[in-house]
Subunit: 483 residues, 2 copies
Amino acid sequence: MDAAMGMAKIANGDLPDGLIDRLKAIVGAKGWVTDADALQPHVTEPRGLYVGRTPLLLKPSTTDEVSRILALCNSSRVGVVPQGGNTGLVGGGVPHADGGEIILSLARLDRIREVDPLNYTLTVEAGCILADVQAAADAAERLFPLSLGAEGSCRIGGNLSTNAGGTGVLRYGNVRELTLGLEVVLADGTVWDGLNRLRKDNTGYDLKHLFIGAEGTLGVITAAVLKLFPKPRDVATGLVAIRDLPAVIELLSRLRAASGDAVTGFEYIARIGIDFATAHVAGIVDPLAKRYAHYALVELSTPAPDGDLQNVLERLMAAAIEDGLVIDGVIAQNSAQAQALWRLREAVAESQKFEGGSIKHDVSVPVSRVADFIAAATAACTDAMAGIRPVPFGHVGDGNIHFNLSQPKDMDSDAFLAEWPRINRIVHDIVVGMGGSISAEHGIGQLKREELRRYAVPAKLDLMTRIKHALDANNIMNPGKVL
Amino acid sequence: MDAAMGMAKIANGDLPDGLIDRLKAIVGAKGWVTDADALQPHVTEPRGLYVGRTPLLLKPSTTDEVSRILALCNSSRVGVVPQGGNTGLVGGGVPHADGGEIILSLARLDRIREVDPLNYTLTVEAGCILADVQAAADAAERLFPLSLGAEGSCRIGGNLSTNAGGTGVLRYGNVRELTLGLEVVLADGTVWDGLNRLRKDNTGYDLKHLFIGAEGTLGVITAAVLKLFPKPRDVATGLVAIRDLPAVIELLSRLRAASGDAVTGFEYIARIGIDFATAHVAGIVDPLAKRYAHYALVELSTPAPDGDLQNVLERLMAAAIEDGLVIDGVIAQNSAQAQALWRLREAVAESQKFEGGSIKHDVSVPVSRVADFIAAATAACTDAMAGIRPVPFGHVGDGNIHFNLSQPKDMDSDAFLAEWPRINRIVHDIVVGMGGSISAEHGIGQLKREELRRYAVPAKLDLMTRIKHALDANNIMNPGKVL
């Protein structure tokens, strides 16, 4: 949206004389990029919503280099934008368009520092790609449960800075709950070694939670101690058609209790999502013969090798059909079938772009209000624009719905997208009225900064501002993001 | 230890003229105590380590009253000591001896505001007794898993302010992990309504974690939204004798994986603990015929009614015996037998006072270092004092060991207790050398303030100080605790 501003001025002029050379000297020849073409992917938000500008990207390879960079930028009053895989969806990882900030890429800080299977922990540097973190855990016969679409390119430091969620939150929590310790470089270059490997530690304020989810505005996370779990040995996956929205939530509650809290996935899909996915993504088929309004992808898993989950899921589904909650369904008979069901779920997200413009909402409400929310938001949006097509889907087990809206079939795409703020307001008012969140997992960045000002209680904004000032008095850490 | 100072001076003189009357007027006739005898239990730390002094205890019954009290104390620069059930063990909940602080009791803020079984949440006020919170969850067919010795008298606000642990941490986490939202009154009287009922919310800094575990130094927690879980329907409990310390940890790791992560209790007890418990506590018997060096109390539980856990535990134990990890053991055949095993565990803690002086350590190390720690600390303490008797026990599943030391049999109790600082130093040096914590679950309060200064990295103390100043510039919130 700010893309036009990206052309406004030449950037170099905004940095103090000689600073770029001094910063280059800290990281050495392999550690910097100034070429405009090479910088382009680093200044562009993945959906193209923001295109920024910078004269310099630094790629330090040690925590000490990060420390020296921040100390120098702090004394020079130059803004620093930390960047991982640049897969965020709210413009938090790209610089502003005035060219006065540098990018600090964590990509070369990518070592696995320690694996401790007996302590169920992994110590990693911020630049590790999420899939590599998962693989390191797997090699030690353990599970690191964070899983999301971008896992092949996003980096754990970005996951931590945005408190990433994904599909495993219901059972394992957000990345915040998966973190025992952090190493952070503060705005003035001080290194806080908080690489705690402990389950229990009550020695003063728990500082790690300040930096997790702060989107790089309070310091740079350089390493983390992550929690591991026993590796699942038995998994059962199914896709079921469900009577109505209240039954979706009722089914989830029953499954949690009856399975011994083994529900590790519970993803809602409305019929239109199945239609989009089967129409536009190669190889995706609807596994059920008839059409229904509401579906859930259900996954149970347990580390016990003899969990007998296939039978457990079949038995639970038979009972739910008898009680009228579930109408139809399939249970995967092997891992290939299970993967096909998950591909269907991922295809729901991918396929929307083939249906024209899409106005997106990453929101959450209490789990007990999910059905009310989808009904109310659908009604309000349909009232506001004839022909608009709601595509609700997502992690309803956590109350998190991706409430996306595809344009009316015959509308101009740009005209539709121009309605983004109006439709946002309608949906966010309903969300906040139900005690919900206008950003369940993607964060604030640039995209939702004004929305945060509108909806957050003043005491929260005031506390955030006081903390920001206490930790980054010169406002060099990712300025203009979040706050 | 500071008890003598309690007699130093008359307190009233330290408060500004007329302040007490203005504070009394906020809470009304039922809301204050000034009688010295009635105040006595509120100024005395439960083990008698600290006896403070105050002219006034206030018992507000609404959040608004708390707000008005803090606004007035802040403008008058008068220290406020928040107090729940006064069951803490580090002197964090009692005033200093100079009489210049008031106590703010949360005892009358004790309503259950909401139970939402479908959302698996409970909204409670800070003064609710923990056992009442558990009961409210149970009545809704849910589990609130926080469980600890003082649950009949401690209050949830105190549990939150000290990030309480207890026996369920291994499976469910500390109270920090059990909290979705908070209502907090800040030092200047501002009320922050952060009573979030959401599983996922990435709208800015996660402020609740600042107040949880801050021991009342950053504000007063007045209400909280707590996470609930499916209620266990199947429980299996056993006491096993284990080959050696490394085998204790190996057994835990195996049990977690093989039981489907159903280990909800895993408590280590050294032989001397069984000897103390059976010698001094009525009705406690050793369920095994022979004597062994190391024991663990193991509990598996699951919400699935047909979990078959009794058989699972028997099978796992048979395999562990075959592999030489476990030497002997019993599995409870009914809930009365299970309760007897838990009483034995509780009696280990109670019985130490009958063996003379006891120097206590509430420490944690990475789970993979527990065996090393107990061996090293035992050797060092025995070297430092002939005849000293280590009584290690506790939640080793979280790396949390209560490493207590009973006095040599023939020693004077006071002479032994005079060695508290020297022995602390020996044990804490070993703990910190292993990346451990000198306060795993009890907090800092007054007791460990100097130890925190000694062992915490300077960057952490500096960050804590900056945050304290940003949130409580006049230092009225529980002054002189933690920092």
